[in-house]
Each structure stands twice: as C-alpha cells, then as structure tokens.
C-alpha cells in the first residue's frame, strides 16, 4: 500500500483531520530541507508536499514564486531532490511525501525515468498543477507501471461537471483548491466554497483536503464538518522565511495547527 493511502486510512480510523504542509525543496539548503522534514514529521504533520522549483510557476503566488526562484539560484534541481529523498528514507523518515511540480520538469527528466526514480527514492505522490485531467495520460501510465507514487487530483470551485470524471479513479486524497484568499471574506463567498466542498465530498470515495490561502486552524472552522484536512503552503513558507528556517518554529506551528484542526 502507498504511504499516503496508509496515512489516510489511519486518520479515518483515529477520526482525525489531516494536516498537509508545503515546503520548497532546497531552502534554506538541501540539508536544511531535510531538517525541516524531520521536524514536521515529529510535529505530527500527516503528509508533506515538497515543491520542486521551476522557473515559471504559473499556479503560484508571489511567496512561492520567490521561494522557487531562491531555490533555483542555490542550485536545486530534481536530481538533487531525488537524492535528498533517498537519503532521508534511509535515515528512517517515513512521512508520506508528495512532489509538487510543474510538468516541464517531469518532461525534461523523462516521464518513465521520473516514475521509476519516484519509486526508487521513496516519493509517494505527485501533484502537477499545470497538468489537467485530459493531459494526464502519459504520466498516469508511467506511474501505474511503477505502481508506487500516485497522481493527486486537483479540483477547483469552477470544476463543476468535470468533478465526477476527475474523481473516478483518483487515489490518496482530493486536493480542493479554494478561491478563499484570506480570512474574513464575505459570507456569500463562504457559502459558495461550502457548497462546492459539499459537492466534492458527496462524490468522492477518498478524503477531501482543502488548500490555498489557509493560515490558521480558524480559517477552516466553517468547513470543518465537510473536509478531511487542510493544506498549508504560502503561509508556512513565509513563516519559515521569517524565522530563518528554524525547525523549532516549524514544529511549533505544525503541532499547534494539528492539535487545533
């Protein structure tokens, strides 16, 4: 069984919500990334998203754009992140890890080689924000052949009629992109997000997670009964930058979030 799916099953059994965090690989450097990964595993984070930096991250806002740029400047590339994964797995870190990356990075590596390397290095899942359902065939086939890492499906508030097809064979969890920017949005908007999450939850056979714009456990209070967990990205990156990538700060933030989710 896949580590992500194992964790989802465990959470269901314990009746717990999931906390998923995003980290740009290579910041502050590769060793620092490993230290942060360990700290998050200890803090109780359920799944870790590792961002593979790309020059043109069109699905990311300014914070992750800048982090991605800094990481590239420090020489991070996919090959080095695979090595990092091999090392951290051999050191006994068992937290499920998902690579969040743009499709060109995979094409450049070679789709088959990428899937094989995911298996070898202990990568459990892949999220590709610029690879919609219709374009997933080649990558999906390569991942299925290796039978290890899974492709996580994204849905958006405007996916509408596309949702059932996207979810039909989805594995692990569904990543629901909320258009919620920050806390305190107008009630009408919240209503729309709620009905969208309900719609996804109703057709999904796997857990439903919400991401984009989440900073604190309070942000997800209105949809707590619907979703199975939260994904924290930009806010976590900013916090790491501000604390000079302190593992202590990362740990505190994550364990507090996990306890209050």
């Amino acid at each position: 069984m896949n580590r992500i799916e194992e964790r989802m099953a465990l959470l269901k059994q314990k009746n717990e919500k999931a906390l998923i965090t995003y980290l740009t690989a290579g910041l502050p450097d590769l060793e620092g990334t490993k230290a942060l990964m360990r700290a998050q595993e200890e803090a109780g984070v359920d799944v870790l998203e590792l961002g593979i930096p790309f020059s043109d991250p069109i699905a990311d806002g300014p914070i992750i754009q800048e982090a991605s740029y800094q990481s590239i400047c420090r020489g991070t590339n996919l090959k080095k992140v695979f090595r990092l994964m091999e090392e951290i797995r051999s050191e006994g870190v068992e937290i499920p890890v998902i690579f969040m990356m743009y499709y060109n990075t995979i094409l450049n590596y070679g789709i088959e080689a990428f899937a094989a390397e995911c298996r070898a290095a202990g990568v459990d899942g892949v999220i590709v924000p610029d690879l919609p359902f219709e374009e997933q065939g080649a990558l999906q086939a390569a991942l299925e052949k290796e039978d290890k890492a899974i492709l996580i499906q994204l849905v958006s508030p405007v996916s509408g009629a596309r949702i059932p097809a996207i979810l039909e064979h989805a594995r692990g969890f569904v990543y629901c992109v909320s258009s919620m920017g920050v806390t305190g949005q107008a009630g009408v908007f919240h209503q729309e997000v709620l009905s969208y999450l309900k719609e996804v939850k109703a057709v999904s056979k796997i857990p439903v997670m919400m991401g984009f714009g989440i900073r604190t456990p309070e942000d997800i209070a209105p949809m707590k009964e619907i979703i199975d967990g939260a994904i924290v990205g930009s806010h976590f990156i900013r916090l790491l930058e501000q604390s000079d990538y302190s593992t202590k700060a990362a740990k505190e933030y994550c364990s507090n979030f996990k306890q209050n989710i």
Binding site: D56, I58, N104, D130, V155, R162
Partner: protein, 395 residues
C-alpha cells in the same frame, strides 16, 4: 487527451484545472461565432472601417532591383495602431463581448499587442489591464504612454527576466483568479488550445488578402512567403492560406540575437527542445534542468523563449522552414528599407527583411517573394538611436 487541441504532438492545454471550463466555453463561443454571419460581418466591418483593411501588397521596386528578385511587402504596418496585432485583438474582443465579459487583460512584449488591446477596449468600453515586463516598459516607453492614454492600466511585472515570458505568467495567474468576468486577450499564436487556433483564424486575413492581391497582379502563386517569428502570430497569419499550396516555400525568421553561438538569442526552433510553457507543448529554450531560459533579442516582440504549437508542427512536418538572423543583420535590413523604400519597419519585421535579402540572392527576377511587414518602426526609434550610437544593448 483532447485530440482537437493538438497539432501533431504539439499544443494541448497545460493549464490549471480552474481554467479548463473557461477554455471549453471559449472554444464553443469561437466555433459558434465563426458560423454566425452577424459576427463575421461585424468583424469585417471593423477590419475595413476601423483598422483600415485591406492593407496593400506593395511591390518594393528598388528593394527588388537591389537584391535580384521581386519582393512584395504585405503592409501590416499600415493598420491602425501600427501592426498586425489589431486584427486578432478586434476578433477576440468581439468574442469577449459575446461571452458577456466586461474586463480584458493582455500581456505585451513590444507593446504593440498591449496598444492594440487598449485600443479595442476603448472602442468597446471595456476595462483593460496590460501586463508588461519592467525591461520592456523601459525600451518601449512610448507604447506604455499610448496604452495609458487609451485608458488601460499597465502593470509592471518584476519577476524572472522582466520581459514577455514573465508578463505572460502574470497575466495567466490573474486570469486563473478572475476568468469569470475577465477575458484574456492573447496576442500571439501561443497558449493553451483554443488560443493558437483563434489567433491563427483572425490573423489569416493577412494571407487571404495577400494571396488574392498577388494573383490579381501576377495570375499565379508567389515562390516564397516569409515572416518573422516570435510567438508566431504574424507568421501564422501570413502562412495560413498558403499551407495547402505545396509549391510555395514558407520561411519563418527567428531572432538570433547576438548570434546563436553566444547563447543569447530567441531562436526556440533552432536551439530549443519541446516542453510545456504557458499552456502549450512546443519548442522552448530551456536549460538542462528544464527551467525556461531567458530569450535575447534587440526586438522586444521577438524576445520570447517559445513558439506557437502550429509552427512547431510545421517545422517537424517539413512544411515550413525556420531560420534566424542576428540583431545586427536585422538592423542593417531596417536601415536598408528606410533608404530604398522610405519605409521604417519595426525591428521585428526587419528580421524577415534581413532574411529576404539573403534569400533573394539565391532567386531570380522571374521569381516572387512576399515578406510580411508586420509593423512600423516608430515605436523603435529610441532602440534604433541607441543602437546607432553604438551603445551595447542591455538585456
């Protein structure tokens, strides 16, 4: 895979899930519009009465005699706003109105597409925001002022290389957030399907006219048709109606910048590998890690690290040939056209002229070559002045 989105293996829709329904709605609107006589009549009306079409197919007599073959210039520089970009903008803005969108956004490199979009938005009373790289805003200050006079908001993009690639990233990000009430007017034959198809359709007026005009003069087809290629909008428009005429040689001219061998160029076809950027799978300039490389060209309009997917297909299928000329060659051609014909071409178009001068030497006075003169050079006078003063161009 949605096979209609592909030209051979190129094209596709490599965008966020949140844009997929928008692209589908756009495709349906576009296909319905093409079958609607009222839409086509409205487009034709604005092309004729507002843009000033048709544009002449001008026989450049002195240019021809100097270089040894008959050279015709398709005068897109005479369009309202000074380039071919307006052909596509009017079409897309009519689509935006048909979809009930009140806001338009656009990316721009040289500023010609931004000016055209600002113009169309003023004409149809739409709110307009244009994304432009900081570097391009400096070298095309005149166009920034024109956009602002036309009521558009110009957003300065400071990320990556501060040029067209980054302006496009920012426009796509904004669009993904605001697609419900905002129409993204893409200026080149790039982006996710159906954009390459839409841009081609609205720009194909160039070759439809040119083919008929040439036939009226010579009662035959030209031997060679040539255009510059950045993303590839004027060139796909110039090629479109000739693609089925196998005897007509099609040549796209990319920017070799300081020379292909220096690595500082914008020749995605010459040096690029296929990959995904801005929603499409096509030839791209990229490094060994798959990061997109910065393009270099003295011409802001050609300073783009990719190329439209149909061009990638035309290259691989062998139907069109893609070559490149350097900054220096383009500037020489620009001055040559000024002197011989009294026409100041855009630096973009001067790339096509530069290769026409080379190609003409292999041809005879019995043969005919059409060059798309995609824009006028008024916007470039500062760059030209700097170049002539011997200042190394910073990019």
């Amino acid at each position: 895979m949605n096979s209609k989105a592909y030209y051979g293996k190129f094209g596709g829709q490599f965008v966020a899930e949140s844009l997929m329904n928008t692209l589908e709605e756009l495709d349906q609107t576009f296909e319905a519009a093409l079958k609607d006589p009222a839409f086509l009549e409205e487009y034709r009306y604005y092309m004729e009465q507002y843009v000033g079409r048709e544009t002449p197919l001008y026989y450049a007599k002195r240019f021809s005699e100097t270089y040894g073959t008959n050279i015709y210039l398709k005068r897109e520089d005479l369009n309202h706003t000074g380039a071919h970009k307006i052909n596509n903008v009017i079409g897309q803005i009519l689509l935006a109105r048909r979809m009930g969108k009140r806001k338009v956004i656009a990316e721009t490199g040289a500023g010609q597409h931004g000016v055209a979009t600002a113009t169309g938005a003023a004409l149809f009373d739409l709110e307009c925001t244009v994304y432009m790289g900081e570097e391009d805003m400096k070298r095309q200050a005149l166009n920034v002022m024109r956009m602002e006079m036309l009521g558009a908001k110009v957003v300065c993009v400071r990320s990556g290389s501060n040029t067209l690639k980054d302006a496009t990233n920012e426009a796509i990000r904004t669009w993904a957030k605001t697609a419900e009430d905002t129409f993204y007017v893409i200026g080149s034959a790039v982006g996710p399907y159906p954009y390459p198809k839409i841009v081609r359709e609205f720009q194909s007026v160039i070759s439809r006219e040119a083919k008929r005009q040439f036939f009226e003069k010579q009662h035959k087809l030209p031997d060679v048709v040539m255009a510059c290629v950045g993303g590839g909008s004027n060139s796909i428009g110039m090629f479109a109606d000739f693609i089925g005429d196998r005897d007509v040689e099609l040549i796209g001219v990319e920017a070799a910048g300081k020379g292909i061998e220096t690595g500082e160029h914008a020749a995605a076809m010459a040096e690029g590998r296929p990959g995904t950027l801005h929603g499409m799978y096509s030839y791209l300039l990229q490094d060994t890690d798959g990061n997109i490389k910065l393009a270099h060209s003295i011409s802001a309009g050609l300073d783009y690290p990719g190329v439209g997917p149909e061009h990638a297909y035309l290259k691989d299928s062998g139907r069109a040939q893609y070559v490149s000329v350097t900054d220096a060659e383009a500037m020489d051609a620009l001055m040559e056209l000024c002197r011989l014909e009294g026409i100041i071409p855009a630096i973009e178009s001067a790339h096509a002229l530069a290769y026409a001068m080379k190609k003409a030497k292999t041809m005879t006075m019995d043969q005919n070559l059409i060059v798309c003169l995609s824009g006028r050079g008024d916007k470039d006078v500062h760059t030209i002045a700097d170049y002539l003063a011997g200042k190394a161009y910073l990019n």
